[in-house]
């Protein structure tokens, strides 16, 4: 599903963020990427969605070589990869339904399709009763669920979660992880970037550990080792 071949990325100011990364994530996998702050986790995510280019190597996503992806091709890639972040990135003046529908509207989805798909994904994430609430009226966990629903409307093959529990208490964090596991069960490849030791250890899934831009450990059923 995702392949990195000797990928190197250097920033002018801070030096090498990724150093000869070799990586293969298979379809349907649930992979946690762990590491301290500033070790290259977010850069890794950004290169996967075409937000950052690379200096050396090759990246293939779903059979598509995105190493030298053109600007106009990036939207196509983004529709195949759902992304969620620590800060949810919801629009405060739109209801949860509108936030999710917005992702389809801006990609040209018809009103009929929106009316059919949005309630369905809202049900998957357990927000069917909160569709008319605004982000500031619901909990952090529910906001993150709405963000997940928005990431799912394009039926992505990959779901990238960059520190999705960073702003949540442990109860809400666990619920989000449960939801990600459920989505993974449907066949979606889930990549979880986190530095939450407890979550990683409880998952008992594949763990990639990054330090100084290098993968220092890749365990099929891993633990947080840093």
């Amino acid at each position: 599903m995702i392949r990195f071949y000797n990928v190197t990325k250097t920033y002018h100011k801070s030096g090498k963020a990724l150093n000869k990364i070799n990586l293969h994530i298979k379809p349907g996998e649930f992979v946690s990427i762990v590491g301290q702050s500033g070790t290259g986790k977010t850069t890794l995510v950004k290169t996967m969605i075409g937000e950052e280019g690379i200096d050396e190597g090759k990246i293939v996503v779903g059979g598509w070589d995105i190493t030298n992806i053109r600007q106009r091709e990036i939207p196509v890639l983004r529709r195949q990869i759902g992304v969620i972040f620590q800060d949810f990135k919801l629009l405060s003046k739109k209801t949860l339904f509108e936030n999710v529908a917005f992702a389809m509207q801006v990609c040209g989805g018809s009103s009929g399709k929106i009316k059919k798909i949005v309630p369905h994904v809202m049900k998957i994430v357990g927000l069917e009763r909160k569709v008319n609430d605004y982000p500031q009226e619901v909990s952090g966990g529910e906001q993150q669920r709405a963000a997940i629903a928005r990431a799912l409307v394009h039926r992505p093959k990959i779901l990238l979660a960059d520190e999705p529990t960073g702003n949540l208490d442990s109860l809400n964090a666990n619920e989000i992880i449960e939801l990600l596991l459920r989505i993974n069960k449907f066949g979606t490849t889930v990549i979880l970037v986190t530095h939450n030791r407890e979550i990683v250890n409880n998952l008992k899934r594949r763990v990639l550990t990054i330090d100084n831009g290098t993968i220092i450990s890749d365990q099929a059923v891993g633990k947080y080792i840093l």
Binding site: P75, R78, R79, K89, L90, Q105, V106, C107, S111, H154
Partner: protein, 303 residues
């Protein structure tokens, strides 16, 4: 495609109304720029009419002796007509001159009374000569000055060339000043549009980042701002149409007084050429605004 376009228009109106004060300032600056451009057009039309009016009046009068014989006059007329610089020669007899004079001063009883007191026709017969064009004017005067005929009483050679030169000079200066003012306004308009788009993008930076995140195309992200600039232009041109016609109505009586006897009607001119005048202004302003927006969008929509 239609759906995307409809959404682009919707987002564009949202941008305009969410930054309503900025939008109003943008439109007002645009109106000022268009007003200057239209004033320039008015100056051009008025200048052309003034020059045309003077052109119509260009003639050279040869005053003939009262006792000049008919055959001598006709012979002189024939000779002058042969000159290559002459377009037309009209002979005005003493009687015709008196009739014209009485008609011209029919309102002035003092002049008419004085004429009656004289009890004779004091006017002389006249030869009215029209030159082919203004360029041959000096040449013609030289030839007529050199022309010696016993029946010529006097010559009246008003220097129309200097007058036309002055009118052309004033028109040119006003046009130059107008062009400079228009250029300044066009530049200010570009800056204001650029900043309006910049502020609109800043206001929507979170929305833009989300749009990019969920896979919206660059076209879909950038188009609403370009459409906004076209909408600003449309509002600006419509507003100038609403403002400019009443302004012309106010100006028209003054022009009619000034150009009495000449057909100058700015309202008719602007109505007759409305499509060309305002259509071209819309196209030019839209083009300028799109360029300004495009630069701003390309530079600032990378959030």
């Amino acid at each position: 495609m239609f759906l995307s376009f409809a959404r682009i228009i919707k987002f564009s109106f949202q941008d305009i109304f969410r930054n309503i004060w900025l939008s109003l300032v943008t439109i007002i600056i645009l109106i000022l720029a268009l007003f200057t451009v239209n004033m320039l057009l008015v100056v051009s039309v008025v200048g052309e009419t003034a020059v045309g009016a003077v052109h119509d009046k260009i003639d050279i009068n040869l005053y003939l002796k009262t006792d000049a014989k008919e055959e001598e006059i006709l012979a002189l007329k024939a000779k002058i007509s042969e000159l290559s610089e002459v377009k037309e020669v009209t002979y005005v007899s003493k009687e015709a001159a008196l009739k014209n004079f009485t008609e011209k001063h029919k309102e002035n009883q003092e002049i008419l009374g004085a004429l009656r007191e004289l009890n004779i026709n004091p006017l002389t017969p006249t030869m009215v000569i029209k030159p082919v064009n203004l360029d041959v004017f000096d040449n013609l005067i030289n030839k007529l000055n050199a022309y010696d005929s016993e029946i010529i009483e006097s010559r009246n050679f008003t220097n129309y060339k200097t007058l036309l030169g002055k009118i052309n000079n004033i028109t040119k200066k006003v046009t130059d000043a107008g062009l400079m003012l228009s250029s300044i306004f066009v530049f200010i308009t570009m800056l204001v549009i650029y900043n309006s788009v910049r502020v609109a993008i800043y206001t929507h930076r979170r929305q833009i980042s989300i749009m990019k995140l969920v896979g919206a195309s660059n076209y879909f992200i950038q188009m609403p701002y370009l459409v906004s600039s076209i909408i600003y232009t449309l509002f600006g041109v419509l507003a100038i149409m609403v403002i400019f016609y009443p302004f012309l109505s106010l100006l028209q009586p003054y022009l009619e007084t000034f150009f009495v006897g000449y057909n100058i009607n700015l309202i008719t001119y602007f109505y007759g050429n409305a499509f060309n005048i305002f259509g071209l202004q819309f196209l030019a302003a839209a083009l300028i605004n799109i360029v300004a927006s495009l630069i701003a969008v390309r530079k600032y929509s990378r959030v």
